[in-house]
């Protein structure tokens, strides 16, 4: 090992605690690295936490994000440093010294129990920035109710004490003495091996657009403000009202491209890539809020719904009555009496139209914040034209400074799944760089000796918490305590001011030993936040962590029945009784460890497959690549350049060379997967090549099986050798074919086979590809007439620059309608194209030298592969990931991942990012020596099971299998996630969800109703 690798530091800094930063941190922490998250605000969560719903599934944003935030907050190898920013970086890749400046919080995070007393007593109200100033918060505040860390802070700039030198009401009322006015800003120096930048985005501020009157008219709002208004936990509690008078709007318009695709009003020439789809989402969700009567209109230049399932989302929105009008609105006029607004535009038929709306939403673009620009400067990384971190398409998450990686919207404007993919990819790059230092700085969970209490009669200890005054001021805690003593099996009861305090934890350990307690109930707050803490305590006392139960007498009792102390006390007794009854039936649960086969299998030898294989192998995990063809490289072999112009061929050559030369990558060409056995960590796959079968053991699998290009049967394709598909034109240009070089004119037809009923999706790459080729033709022959026949130009992100350039170079863009597609004829070897130009509203005849059809990307035949790995396909035949937003490369089936075109059409750089992401996710499994099985999972009692398989189809994770020999079902303990859906399907109650058995549920029902 070289000197440099010995100096590698096994910790990583992630700058930014939004979804990208959180994902990168989790992936790295799970792979054996210690992670610092540097968050500039009071809590992690970023922009995603403030969104109402997410497209295209309309999932609740907070619901899907919150578990990840909580996981981050709890992770033993993630340290969240809030209110902090990076000052300077010294050192080099593998060993950086980073100076971090942290602002004072004035609340001791160790003491704060988030009871909210400080905020309640604080007399100062200030605009709530989290809700974009739409409502007020106090100067003592928590960023948002589900914040992680869930700790209050004091806003120094608005605090009365800091202004006038007196008040300190918060300090007086804080039950835990957490308020500390002596707190000071500090500087911390951290030693890390690598830095991942995920500072996120800033929504464009449209104040400068005078013509929209955003600053003057209250009913002109930004899309981000609308998100907060629509959010059930937002300033209007999810009621859609207009700001001027609180009235319910009847007509709302969205104006697209505000602060995007605009170099006149601002310097954002790029497309923000997400606004079209978020506007659709907001329109649809707004319609749901105001049932039936709401008129919604989206004014756009091009509808850019290029993501997975976005086109269907767009089509559904049209069906549900959202109006889409192609027009760029330049001025918004106010109607002063009503607060309404009107706009003028030219409709499809060329008529001038004036329309009045109650509210106007500006679909503001994404841009890099000044803070992030500062960060880039301090770190010395280069930026691109759009002021995003500069990266190469072949290393999409690598900045210009070695050892510093980037992900999320700072890499370029993008949506959540793409940010998550890049986050995992950045984690993969880091893990590769620091591979020798893996596991050097992580804190391993300490194992505690467990006392065997299985056969013993329950001896239950109950701890009833006052939570300062949070519980005690409503619930009669002493009465609950006395009551608990009367319950069966209860041996010991005490009341605490704070059950979660360190001294109570110590007492708890002592009394467990002293009174030989074998089960514990804590009646306090929510198990969602505090169960892990108490479980840790009883583990330290030698008890199995499952011998624990909480009664939520605060969040779901004292806080919500403040005016009914008697009823709340009665309810607390009931909740304690239920918890005691449940824990009395609980048996210790064992978690077994299954060894992990530390190698991977990659299916597909294209760019995605090879990148994934290399990323795993460079971290030290052997990989077998299975490719059905006799060569590596896939479609990239035909592709000329990436969209930025970098040639693919040299990149591909090097990639293939690296894969072939890699000591721990095994290639299997002309091969096919025949059979897959096993599960995460322990797969055994049969691969067949030339009739010979081979068994390959592996711990993870990455499916990168690629896709096809649609061969059209329209537009005379195949009838003339001057009609090309996009990749064929690449080849013809590379070979300088006469037909191309000598052509006087060229035509491209877009959306060939895409965005049609048979394939209701956008193939994402074709607009950029055609424009790139149009520019190439212009380079070959600047006099050549080049026309692109299109429906919407979808040069998302920085690709917009190409589109602008093409227009500047004189490429003609002719828009057509899908109902009136261009007609292609060949008359005496002459290509004749008739197209109805929507802008000119008349037909045009073109006679080009060459015609290129931008044909759709279609799924390969992957049904059998999907079946073998028990993973799903979507209706179009592409692999369907576990979650469209937050698990873009995972499957519900653990240990199997997807990357590249097999997942969805996408350009090279996104394939590479996704491949690295898949490898990062896979490395989480391979980094562990064992995978834990068991715990709170479901088990089948084979004596009772009758083999009917009613449970089998109910398992979302394919954990249930049918054993032919015994004619019984069985649940794989390593795959089961403990949802219990199978148990509810079993007619004989042969299935028990450990930790929540039917008996325990019945008993809780009995006790819950016997009060």
């Amino acid at each position: 090992m070289s000197n440099s690798s010995q100096n590698l530091v096994g910790s990583v800094m992630v700058v930014g605690g939004g979804i990208a930063g959180v994902q990168a941190a989790l992936d790295l922490a799970d792979t054996g690295f210690y992670v610092y998250i540097i968050e500039s605000s009071e809590a992690i969560g970023g922009v995603m936490s403030a969104l109402d719903k997410t497209f295209p599934t309309n999932d609740c944003s907070m619901c899907i994000l919150s578990p990840k935030l909580v996981e981050c907050g709890r992770h033993p190898n993630i340290e969240i440093i809030t209110l902090a920013e990076v000052q300077s970086v010294a050192g080099k890749a593998g060993n950086f010294q980073v100076k971090v400046f942290q602002r004072a919080r004035f609340i001791d995070m160790d003491k704060c129990i988030a009871c909210g007393a400080c905020a309640e007593k604080c007399p100062r109200k200030v605009a709530n920035q989290y809700n974009l100033g739409l409502n007020k918060r106090k100067a003592a505040y928590v960023k948002y109710p589900q914040a992680v860390p869930l700790k209050y802070a004091i806003d120094k700039d608005h605090c009365i004490y800091f202004e006038k030198g007196k008040c300190r009401a918060c300090e007086k009322f804080c039950p835990t003495n957490a308020v500390n006015f002596e707190d000071t800003d500090r500087e911390i120096t951290l030693n890390v091996g690598s830095i991942i930048l995920a500072p996120g985005l800033q929504p464009f501020d449209p104040t400068s657009f005078d013509s929209y009157g955003y600053a003057r008219h209250p009913n002109v709002i930004t899309a981000m403000e609308l998100e907060r208004i629509l959010s059930p936990s937002g300033p209007t509690r999810g009621k859609l009202i207009r700001p001027s008078d609180g009235g319910e709007p009847e007509r709302i318009a969205w104006l697209q491209c505000v602060g995007s695709r605009d170099i006149n009003h601002c310097d954002n020439g790029y497309c923000s890539a997400v606004c079209c789809t978020y506007a659709i989402k907001e329109a649809v969700v707004a319609k749901e809020h105001i049932k039936g009567s709401l008129d919604t209109a989206i004014f756009y230049i091009d509808m850019r719904t290029h993501g997975k399932d976005f086109e269907k989302y767009y089509n559904r929105a049209k069906q549900s009555g959202v109006r889409f009008i192609k027009a760029r609105i330049s001025i918004v006029f106010p109607v002063y009496e009503t607060g309404n607004l009107f706009i003028r535009y030219t409709d499809g038929a060329g008529r001038r139209v004036e329309e009045e709306f109650d509210m106007i939403v500006l679909s503001v673009g994404l841009e890099t914040s000044p803070a992030a620009l500062r960060l880039a400067e301090r770190l010395g990384i280069e930026l691109d034209d759009g002021r995003f971190a500069l990266t190469s398409p072949f290393r999409p998450v690598t900045t210009t400074r070695p050892g510093i990686f980037v992900c999320g919207a700072f890499q370029g404007p993008k949506d959540i799944p793409q940010s998550v993919m890049e986050a995992s990819a950045a984690a993969a790059e880091t893990a590769t760089l620091l591979a020798p230092a893996r596991a050097s700085l992580v804190r391993e969970a300490v194992e505690f000796e467990e006392v065997d209490v299985a056969g013993e009669e329950p001896r239950i200890g109950v701890f009833v918490c006052h939570c300062g005054v949070n519980i005690g001021s409503v619930v009669n805690v002493p009465a609950v305590k006395e009551y608990a003593k009367t319950l069966h099996y209860v041996e010991y009861v005490e009341e605490n001011l704070f059950s979660c305090s360190q001294d109570t934890q110590d007492t708890m350990k002592e009394v467990i030993a002293k009174h030989k307690l074998n089960r514990i109930v804590v009646a306090s707050c929510s198990p969602r936040t505090h169960e892990p803490l108490f479980q840790q305590t009883i583990r330290e006392a030698g008890l199995n962590k499952y011998l624990f139960e909480m009664a939520n007498i605060r969040d779901q009792n004292s806080w919500v029945h403040q005016a009914e102390p008697d009823a709340a006390t009665g309810k607390a007794k009931d909740l304690v009784r239920m918890a005691v009854a449940k824990v009395g039936l609980q048996q210790p649960l064992e978690e077994t460890k299954l060894p992990v086969t530390k190698s991977g299998l990659v299916i597909g030898g294209g760019v995605a497959g090879m990148e994934a294989a290399l990323t795993l192998a460079d971290q030290g995990y052997p990989v077998t690549v299975v490719e059905k063809e006799d060569v590596l490289g896939g479609h990239a072999r035909k592709l000329l350049t990436a969209w930025t112009g970098e040639p693919i061929a040299s990149f591909l050559e090097e990639l293939i060379q690296r894969v072939q030369a890699h000591p721990i990558i095994t290639m299997r060409l002309n091969s096919e997967v025949k059979e897959v056995k096993g599960f995460v960590g322990n797969f055994s796959t049969t691969v067949e090549a030339d009739g010979i079968e081979e068994q390959i053991p592996h711990g993870v699998a990455i499916i990168a099986a690629g896709a096809h290009f649609h061969k059209p049967t329209e537009y005379c394709y195949g009838e003339n050798d001057r009609i090309y598909l996009s990749l064929e034109l690449d080849e013809a240009i590379r070979e300088r074919c006469d037909a191309v070089v000598q052509a006087n004119s060229a035509v491209f037809i877009q959306c060939v086979g895409s965005r049609e009923p048979e394939r209701p999706y956008c193939s994402r790459v074709c607009c950029t590809h055609s424009i790139k080729n149009a520019l190439r033709l212009k380079e070959i022959n600047p006099q050549m007439d080049v026309a692109i026949l299109y429906r919407d130009i979808r040069t998302y992100g920085l690709r917009e620059g190409l589109y602008r350039k093409a227009r500047r170079k004189g490429v003609m863009f002719i828009r057509f309608n899908v109902d009136r597609k261009p007609q292609v004829e060949i008359v005496a070897n002459e290509l004749r194209i008739t197209v109805f130009d929507l802008t000119l509203q008349r037909s045009i005849l073109l006679k080009p030298g060459i015609l290129t059809l931008a044909s759709a990307i279609t799924a390969s035949k992957t049904e059998s592969l999907a079946k073998l790995f028990k993973v799903p396909l979507n209706p179009e035949g592409f692999f369907l990931e576990a979650h469209m937003k937050l698990r873009p490369v995972d499957f519900a089936t653990d240990g199997v991942y997807v990357a590249g075109l097999a997942h969805w059409p996408k350009p090279t750089e996104e394939c590479i990012a996704q491949a690295k992401a898949a490898a990062a996710r896979a490395a989480r499994v391979l980094a562990k020596d064992f995978i834990a099985a068991g715990g709170a999972v479901a088990v089948v009692d084979k004596k009772i099971c009758c083999g009917c398989q009613s449970c089998l189809g109910c398992c979302p994770f394919e954990a249930v299998s049918y054993l032919e020999q015994e004619a019984r079902c069985e649940i794989n303990q390593a795959v089961c996630k403990g949802c219990g859906t199978c148990g509810a399907a079993c007619p004989s109650e042969a299935i028990t969800l450990l930790g929540l058995s039917n008996q325990q549920i019945y008993k809780q029902i009995d006790e819950g109703l016997s009060g």
């Binding site: 749901e288 004596k943 009772i944 099971c945 009758c946 083999g947 009917c948 398989q949 009613s950 449970c951 089998l952 189809g953 109910c954 979302p956 049918y962 004619a967 859906t981 399907a985 007619p987 004989s988 109650e989 042969a990 039917n998 008996q999 019945y1002 008993k1003």
Partner: protein
């Protein structure tokens, strides 16, 4: 009919065949094998109904490698299909011959398909799309319906006859005997006895009506289960014994096929 059965037995296609012999003028369900093949002569078409699938199931469990033939009605054919789906019988080990029910029987059963798809004997009687008994109950006020059911449930003597005769009750251990779910040994059992069984019939009941036939307390169980079938059809678009796939209550399915729910 008996010729067909004879050919199956003599040709070695099946090891045994379930049909009816006639003894003293009464039909009697019998397992015909090469040994008692001569008794086939006494086979007569009969409207009498027996839990013949239960006999087949017991026999198949005893001899898992043997192939059996069976003469079935429409409901019994549906029952067989369910038993195949739930892996209780192997489809390729069961040869089916079918007989249509008489019009009288079809009317009595309010049967919506009184004939099997595999029809070897008899003429299909007209199907009854509706059940008058269920409709009468549906038209009543809910309170009246509750009283009506209680007046019947109150006669239950917990003999488990309904379960024991049911062709699609194949569990090793029955929820109706779970101590936590079924309270004590009080007679008559409370309503949950009937509702738990009704829940289990959801997506399974093939409407043979044997439960009601055997009930010594004459509880009109068939109306309850007919309604169950109707609910399953309305909510999940599923017909036990007809639909090819398994019951939607036994697999997750797609969002598109979900019933409408809360928002």
């Amino acid at each position: 009919m008996n010729t067909k059965i004879r050919i199956l037995l003599q040709g070695g296609r099946v090891d045994g065949f379930f049909a009816y012999k006639t003894t003293s003028g009464f039909p009697f369900p019998t397992l015909f094998t090469l040994e008692n093949i001569q008794e086939l002569e006494t086979w007569r078409p009969t409207p009498a109904r027996y839990p013949i699938l239960k006999l087949l199931l017991a026999q198949a469990r005893k001899n898992p490698h043997a192939a059996y033939g069976i003469l079935v009605r429409g409901c019994e054919e549906r029952g067989l299909r369910e038993l195949f789906k739930y892996q209780q019988l192997e489809q390729d080990k069961v040869i089916i011959l079918g007989q249509a029910c008489t019009e009288g029987l079809a009317k009595y059963c309010e049967c919506w398909k009184p004939y099997p798809d595999a029809l070897d004997y008899g003429k299909p009687a007209p199907a009854m799309a509706k059940s008058r008994k269920v409709e009468e109950l549906e038209e009543q006020h809910r309170e009246a319906r509750l009283d009506w059911w209680l007046s019947h449930f109150n006669r239950c003597i917990r003999c488990y006859g309904c379960r024991d005769v049911c062709p699609v009750c194949f569990c090793t251990e029955c929820s109706l005997e779970h101590a936590e779910l079924m309270l004590g040994e009080i007679l008559p059992p409370d309503t949950s006895f009937h509702l738990v069984r009704a829940v289990h019939m959801g997506g399974r009941c093939i409407d043979c009506g044997l439960c009601e036939e055997v009930c010594p307390a004459r509880i009109p169980l068939r109306s309850l289960y007919k309604k169950i079938n109707r609910l399953i059809e309305e909510i999940l678009g599923y017909n036990p014994g007809i639909s090819k796939e398994k019951s939607p209550l036994s697999f997750l399915g797609e969002e598109m096929s979900l019933p409408s729910g809360p928002r």
